[in-house]
Symmetry: C2
Subunit: 321 residues, 2 copies
């Protein structure tokens, strides 16, 4: 294998629509210009596109390793079992092994949300804590856990599925087929589903009206909230309660001094929403006094940079540097 | 500092009534004869007693390190903030630093339940899994978490307080002052409290009668269950539901293939109780299909041996061996 500069790693964010790659200095998080490319359909074309993108990165020839964040289920050894947002990726592909061979450098593959958590821990709002939970509240609810300064990794690539923790046994239907999961109360799609169910049952329809023919977006929630819409107030109070119960429980179990919250819903609703979580009467475990809730720093390219940091750590580049 | 055999470590279980110490080979868990001593009152006397006990252990002069499991809140750096079961230990004592100086060997201090979890992970029912949750259901409910093959450690010595995760916001009062915590439904004391409340309210009194003037013990639960007592059936179903909700959620968050259950209540009620947890309709997260529930192996001296394994790991004795 080629030997690169141990202080330079290429980080890649593989998204449903675009691939983004850049060289990163893991010690500082400093990154050079990004290379972008459209994400093609099918795993084989995606692998080709990844090779093209990565080898175009300025500094590639010096890089010691590559880290790739992917929007899917990543099993041990960098096997990507499925990527719901990439057409035709419905079967396991050994991405790490194939690209390690083609690129002649160690390639590390991880879930993109987990990469974002690593970036937030090393460079963002989670700096300085040995343990951390990050929760991203968007269409769904995802997250990741840092324990003993390292990203928690499960055996089956599903670690951090905080959106599927049960907050109300037998409660609202969840997209996964379960019931009463956090995501069905706090995720944008879960809130939308409940708003539409209530509207269909004859309740007030402000959110549905604001959305027009499209989805109810985070900004519609913010607008309806500003207007004092009772349904929106109630749905967001339930979202805050669900987050408070889950976050309090995880913070108690893992003794977390801080939890970082990000994602579209949190970004659009801002501090008042964090306050509603903090003040929830359903806050779990030892309660809000033991854990500080802060916004994510919304790091630029957190996925690509987090992937690079993770790769640097795993191949020991930082240690050798 | 004296240099010992890197393959020999002294493990100590500091209990409320007795101190137990023995030399352990961390690679195999093999331990020699134990030295026992009564636990005296007050931290100063306990430290003296620990030195006496440890230096009497066969093999002490060769040992590379000492690990001590204590029944209290252990902060970073081996400071024991409090030990409710040891008279007069209501203020922080830097146990690790003091004993390291007096013994001339690295001394590692950890919570005794966490030591038990390490033993179960390395030598018991958790062998072979990189992540693990162990839950001990006794008077209260305690536990510990292994992530990436290492014991999860918080900043404040409270990691593993699974008994204080909320299962029912606003629910039963918990000994900690909170409400609706797992422990108040599944712990022996929580079950006893509810049984007595129901009896005082005029409900059936079998459990209270079986206990006579003393506490309702796990064996009384088993007896009442065997007699088909409706109150006991109901209380244990609620206990199983609370455990199922919490265990399912934690297994989902951390992607755990296996959870180990131990402690007096689990031991006395046996497999039928584990089945009741597995079949609970309130099982949390992705449900019982993703996680296997197994009994702890009830390792002999799990506390002392776990403490030794933890010490060996932390001082790198295994690596040097």
């Amino acid at each position: 294998m080629a030997e690169g500069r141990p202080d330079l790693v290429v980080g890649v964010d593989l998204g449903g629509t675009k691939i983004l790659a850049r060289a990163v200095e893991p010690k500082t998080g400093t990154a050079n210009d990004r290379v972008k490319m459209k994400t093609p359909a099918g795993p084989a074309a995606v692998l080709d596109a990844l090779v093209t993108t990565i080898t175009q990165v300025d500094g590639w020839s010096d890089a010691a390793a590559v880290g790739i964040g992917v929007p899917g289920l990543v099993q041990r050894g960098g096997i990507v079992a499925r990527c719901p947002n990439i057409e035709g990726w419905d079967h396991p592909v050994p991405v790490a092994d194939e690209l390690t061979e083609r690129l002649g450098r160690p390639v590390i593959v991880a879930n993109d949300v987990n990469c974002g958590v690593v970036a937030e821990h090393r460079l963002g709002s989670g700096r300085g804590f040995t343990s951390l939970l990050a929760v991203f509240v968007g269409t769904g609810v995802g997250g990741g856990v840092i324990v003993n300064d390292h990203l928690a990794e499960g055996d089956r690539g599903m670690v951090g599925e905080i959106g599927h923790l049960t907050v109300e046994p037998g409660g609202r239907p969840c997209g996964c087929g379960g019931r009463g999961h956090l995501e069905s109360y706090a995720g944008r799609a879960g809130i939308e589903g409940e708003a539409r169910r209530r509207a269909e049952a004859g309740g007030p329809e402000l959110l549905v009206e604001l959305a027009g023919g499209g989805p109810i977006k985070s900004r519609h929630l913010a607008t309806a909230l500003a207007k004092g819409d009772p349904t929106t107030l109630e749905l967001l109070a339930e979202a805050a309660d669900a987050l408070a119960l889950t976050i309090g429980n995880v913070a108690t179990l893992l003794d977390l001094p801080r939890v970082v919250l990000g994602g579209g819903v949190v970004d659009k609703l801002g501090d008042p929403f964090l306050d509603e979580i903090r003040q929830s009467r359903r806050f779990g475990g030892f309660g809000p006094d033991i854990v500080e809730l802060v916004s994510a720093e919304r790091l630029d390219d957190a996925g690509a940079i987090g992937a690079a940091l993770l790769a640097a750590e795993r191949v020991g580049a930082l240690v050798e540097a």
